[in-house]
Symmetry: C2
Subunit: 341 residues, 2 copies
DNA sequence: TTGAAAGCGTTACCAA
DNA sequence: TTGGTAACGCTTTCAA
């Protein structure tokens, strides 16, 4: 910048003004032109560390989630990074093993980089000490799937998990199913709890028997991408004891796919004998051998939305903005695992 | 830091020394203790922007790939971020639509943040202007899958795609298959070219007829996660004309899964009539309805390895380190799409 | 073993 | 419309 100033015979301050305040730039058109030209010739690039140090704004936002390997966390990360990029923000993506201490550590590190805002998928349990502190301090934070989990107010975007459950059940009822099984690993997360309750409520309201709850005895699958065997064994054991007690299964895509596999092994036809319904509309549902009826939760849009909320808060000087909870809609995607073609 | 210095009655320089140079710290044990205690009490956190500005090192490394949504780019990103984290480095992950200009833009942005190193999955084509410049300047760069693509020397980690092809064919031959079909979209990437050539060579060496090349007429699938229909239509058209001309199909997991779907629709049994072989060992191969024989390329390890290479180069003052090309091994993972259980 | 000074590249603030 | 000064928080270098 000082090189440009020297060559243009003006002060470095003026150069700074011209190079940044594109809109309300009060420099004369002549000098402006000259400076821009020189900047191009000399290949000027701003030093973002210096800018951050001086201005207190880094144009960095953090994204923290327990593993962005697949599914929702990943789609949201992509949606966020893309949107942020368009607005000239950089995203630092980091993942942790779903515990509160790791979460705290990551938050502190991002704070050291003086991030301007944080989008976070809170860990399933724990005190969330640092997160709470940030929010209390009026720091821009948007949580994902946090509304049912956190005991403090905060901007949040969550899919309507009740709606997910209702969409699943309704579709099955409409296609003539009545004996519905819910299959899941031991429910650690609040998501399953909410969804399952919605399903029970809906069935009760329709005067139908409650769902068959199939619980797979396995510690929750933290590392996907490894091995399906433990899950397969668990599901097989589970389904064998309940044979013939259901004509439809509800789960998320991964479990639904494996359950379908096991059902077909035992000579069961899908959807002839049993309908199988997933959730997440993941790659498994789309590209799998059996196109899987699923629920799409528009996760990439959630990423973009999160950036929007964050922006509003970052622009605000005083933190007098009321907290907003956005419920993002879900869509039923019908495929051949629930309807005969 | 100056707060600590004031309260301890010593100079800020001393505090800096104590807080950083943990190993060769020459401060007296007493002051050291005192400073550490005060730092804890006052909740001292270093300002990384300031440190970066002054020292010229940011402890940030960049990761650039065309979409980190699924598969290799994603696993590598995860492997990299995890390893980097352990070594106190932050990774800025960014993705682009696989063209050279976007790549250049991202590199410049990361350079503005004065990153210390770059791990990059180069775009399929283009001049790679900025990347070339970085490497020429001796800046620490590790490419992924770049060795067959770039016309300049550079540290690189690539799976052995020839080996991938050979593992695929050998397994099919060993399980009694002879009429092998290669199914793919129009091959834009160098990966397919290398692999396919290895397959042709191997078959020729064994005195067997060349593979049947099945090309799906569709522009390359850039956005996964959208819709399988265009691909399905393409594959269906392709397979119909070649019915009965093959007893095994080779592809990557996504196409393999869809091809299997279509084959089964037409009453073909897998692996009874046709073996189907994927590559990538993705979630589709592991959790899909049909467990898919595939090739694992240990992508998370590649991420960790990339960090290692980068570290070596970042530690080096002078860039006299010879360039290294690491070929990461592949493993055949046999599942039921190629062998009767 | 500690202190002093300088400065990294930029922007905020006020004076001209 | 432009210039000057100071400062952001830290590390480097050298002197005490």
């Amino acid at each position: 910048m000082s090189d440009i100033a020297r060559q243009a015979g003006i002060h470095v301050t003026t150069v700074s003004q011209i190079l940044n305040r594109r809109s309300n730039c009060w420099a004369s058109e002549a000098t402006r032109r000259h400076v821009m030209k020189l900047a191009g010739e000399l290949g000027y690039r701003p030093n973002l560390a210096a800018r951050s140090l001086r201005s207190g704004r880094s144009h960095v936002i953090g994204y923290i989630s327990p593993g962005f390997g697949t599914g929702s966390p990943n789609s949201r990360a992509m949606g966020l990074t893309d949107t942020a990029m368009q607005h000239d923000y950089t995203v630092i993506v980091s993942s942790h093993p779903n515990d509160s201490e790791s979460e705290d550590r990551l938050i502190r590190r991002l704070a050291d980089r003086s991030m301007d805002g944080l989008v976070i998928y809170p860990a399933d349990k724990g005190p969330h000490t640092e997160l709470r502190r940030l929010v209390n301090d009026g720091f821009p934070v948007v949580t994902l799937d946090g509304s049912a989990l956190l005991d403090f107010e905060c901007d949040d975007i969550s899919p309507d998990y009740q709606q997910v459950g209702r969409l699943q059940v309704r579709h099955l009822l409409e296609t003539g199913r009545r004996r519905i099984g819910l299959i899941d690993t031991i429910p650690t997360g609040r998501i399953n709890v909410i969804r399952d309750q919605a399903i029970r409520d809906l069935l009760a309201r329709e005067g139908l028997p409650p769902p068959l709850e199939l619980q797979i005895a396995i510690e929750d699958l933290q590392s996907e991408f490894v091995d399906a065997e433990p899950l397969v064994t668990g599901i097989r054991a589970c389904l064998e004891t309940q044979r013939g007690c259901f004509d439809a299964l509800i789960s998320h895509d991964t479990l639904a796919s494996l359950a379908a596999r096991i059902l077909m092994e035992t000579g069961c036809r899908i959807p002839g004998d049993v309908s199988v319904m997933g959730a997440g509309n993941s790659i498994l549902a789309i590209y799998g051998l059996l196109p899987l009826t699923s629920i799409s939760t528009a996760d990439d849009q959630a990423g973009a939305l999160a950036f929007g909320l964050l922006m509003d808060r970052m622009k605000q000087k005083r933190a007098n903005l009321p907290f907003r909870r956005i419920v993002s809609p879900s869509n039923l995607i019908v495929r051949s695992s629930t309807i005969r073609t």
